[in-house]
């Protein structure tokens, strides 16, 4: 029994002839390059910035020039420097939410899978309802309750994500638990922790990792949406979503300001999605890239 059996039954029905040949998946490489680019920019921003991001000078809404690579914003701040700082926020939002949502989700999902039948049913029902509950609206409420900060946004997105991760973990774990080798292990005296560490986690992590990589991209987009609505990291934090909101009013006279942060978002989210696709191909050869 290997990982393959844990994936969707549909994947198993794919005729052998249609499977792709294994090789270095281009999606994985492309995803790593795009993600690496954003991470590099974020790291460089700690060491060197062309201008302090809040420094006002150089004229308002300047077009791109050698002094200001992407021009300046409505207050005369260097856009490229703000974009570099924004990379930190985007990565923190994505990484923080995935960490929080991943930990809560996996623990909750495993707990449900191991729990008594009634408790499992109860958790499953609540998860279904939570998933039906509007994620963005839930996030807006939590942000409003805790104040609009990056931390609130991460908590909000992470909590909403944890329900999705928990449901996936529960389903995957239950499939492993229903196998005969787990019954055999339990009968021969392996404790529940041993079963989790030796049998459940090794079998479910490939699927979880792929899902978390997808969730990373969604979390980045969610943070950008919150910031765009004025519910993310407050000014003067240069979140890409907030940069877009600022630039919207001047898109006609200074289009670069409204284009650059969007491109940055696409690069990061695309990178995460391609990474997820690539990982899926590597970790699970039966599933074709879609």
């Amino acid at each position: 029994m290997t990982d393959h059996d844990l994936l969707s039954d549909a994947a198993l029905e794919v005729p052998a002839a249609r499977r792709p040949r294994r090789g270095a998946p281009g999606t994985l490489i492309a995803g790593c390059i795009l993600l690496g680019l954003v991470i590099t920019v974020a790291l460089v921003s700690y060491v060197h910035l062309p201008y302090p991001p809040q420094q006002i000078g150089g004229g308002r809404l300047q077009p791109p020039s050698r002094a200001h690579w992407l021009g300046t914003d409505t207050l005369g701040r260097d856009l490229f420097s703000q974009l570099m700082v924004g990379a930190r926020i985007a990565l923190a939002a994505g990484g923080g939410s995935v960490l929080l949502g991943g930990i809560i989700g996996v623990v909750l999902g495993l707990a449900a899978a191991f729990a008594q039948r009634w408790l499992d049913d109860a958790i499953a029902a609540v998860l279904d309802i939570l998933i039906a509950f509007p994620t963005l609206l839930l996030a807006m409420l939590i942000v409003a309750a805790r104040g609009a900060t990056l931390g609130s946004a991460i908590v909000a997105i992470g909590l909403a994500m944890s329900a999705i991760v928990a449901r996936l973990t529960r389903i995957l774990a239950k499939r492993v638990l229903s196998t005969q080798y787990v019954t055999a292990a339990a009968t021969s005296g392996t404790g529940w922790l041993g079963v989790i560490l030796r049998h459940v986690l090794p079998n479910i992590w490939p699927t979880l990792i792929v899902n978390l990589a997808l969730q990373f991209g969604l979390a980045v987009l969610a943070e950008a949406s919150l910031s765009y609505l004025g519910l993310g990291a407050p000014p003067p934090n240069a979140s890409w979503g907030r940069l877009l909101q600022q630039a919207q009013g001047t898109v006609y006279s200074a289009p670069v300001g409204a284009i650059a942060p969007g491109v940055a978002l696409v690069v990061l989210v695309l990178g995460a999605n391609l990474l997820a696709d690539g990982l899926r191909d590597v970790l699970d050869p039966t599933r074709r890239s879609r």
Partner: protein, 317 residues
């Protein structure tokens, strides 16, 4: 089937009740007393006490909850703390914008996604398939509000073809003008949504193409198109419909952001101002209505799947 419908409706009601509790509890975590919305800065203690009494925030929380649920049972959503107007009619007025926006965007997205996904599956091994994959990856990664901003730049500000925002016709007395205002937001929704739906259509078609019954039809001489249209469509539709249910709900929620891009007076903008003003009845009303719509969409998606696929009807989930 009837038993299933009733069971499913029961679940819907329970979900709605749970959602009501979640909304109530979360809202009470909001900082600040809702009465603050009523009084001016520097109000006396008596004025504040009167305001607290007026909005009911001097009552203990369980009592407030019971009052609210009691009102809900009578389909009364209360009155706005800020404007003093009943919330229900206000929601209906906002739906006049949000519902057409969502549905038109959804229909356009499906009209784009179905043929595109189908063609991408047919030619999945050629250049067409690669172009499709690249385009759909891009479409999934793009922030929806950014697409909106770019469309406004091009079609409204540069070419002056369509209005950049606003919605002057809240009563739809001039449908043409109202539709013009909705054109760009609808296209924005359709662009982003169609790319993810098309991916599912393509995946579903590829799955069916490999199945024995399609191979048999092809061997019997029917063309690719007629084999898919006459025999494969239903099989593809079942998984796609469950995705569509989720997508429609997501789009409805995404309308919050879209409405902000285009300054449309819909549910989303009502919610954002409600949160800013601590207007509890309005926030509760918007959230509850949104949840109800999301739940109903899920219900309809499940029901449609069962109508199409007899195999699901016997199964009890």
């Amino acid at each position: 089937m009837t038993a299933y419908v009733f069971r499913r409706l029961g679940l819907l009601l329970v979900s709605l009740l749970v959602a009501a509790v979640v909304i109530f509890v979360l809202l009470r975590m909001l900082p600040g007393d809702p009465a603050n919305a009523l009084v001016a800065v520097g109000a006396t203690k008596e004025q504040i006490a009167a305001a607290r009494h007026a909005v009911g925030s001097d009552q203990p929380l369980p009592a407030q909850f019971v009052t609210w649920i009691g009102q809900l049972a009578r389909l009364d959503l209360g009155t706005s703390f800020v404007s003093g107007l009943p919330v229900g009619p206000q929601l209906v007025q906002r739906l006049v914008v949000t519902v057409p926006l969502t549905l038109l965007g959804f229909v356009l997205a499906v009209l784009i996604a179905a043929p595109v996904g189908f063609v991408a599956a047919r030619f999945s091994r050629s250049a067409v398939g690669i172009v499709f994959s690249a385009a759909s990856q891009l479409g999934v990664a793009v922030p929806v509000f950014w697409v909106g901003i770019l469309l406004v730049w091009g079609f409204a500000l540069h070419w002056h073809l369509l209005p950049a925002g606003g919605f002057p016709q809240e009563d739809w007395s001039a449908p043409g003008q109202a539709l013009r205002s909705l054109t760009l937001p609808v296209i924005t929704i359709a662009i982003v949504m169609s790319s993810s739906v098309a991916r599912y259509v393509r995946a579903g078609c590829i799955e069916i193409l490999g199945s024995d019954f399609i191979r048999t039809f092809r061997a019997l001489g029917s063309s690719f198109g007629s084999a898919m249209l006459r025999h494969g469509m239903k099989s593809v539709a079942v998984p796609v419909i469950s995705v569509l249910g989720i997508e429609l709900a997501t789009t409805f929620l995404g309308a919050v952001v879209i409405e902000n891009v285009f300054a449309l007076p819909g549910l989303g903008s009502l919610l954002v101002t409600g949160i800013a003003q601590h207007d509890y009845p309005t926030i509760q009303g918007v959230l509850l209505l949104t949840t109800l719509i999301v739940l109903i969409v899920g219900f309809l998606a499940d029901l449609t799947q069962r109508l199409i696929d007899p195999r699901l009807r016997g199964a009890h989930r």
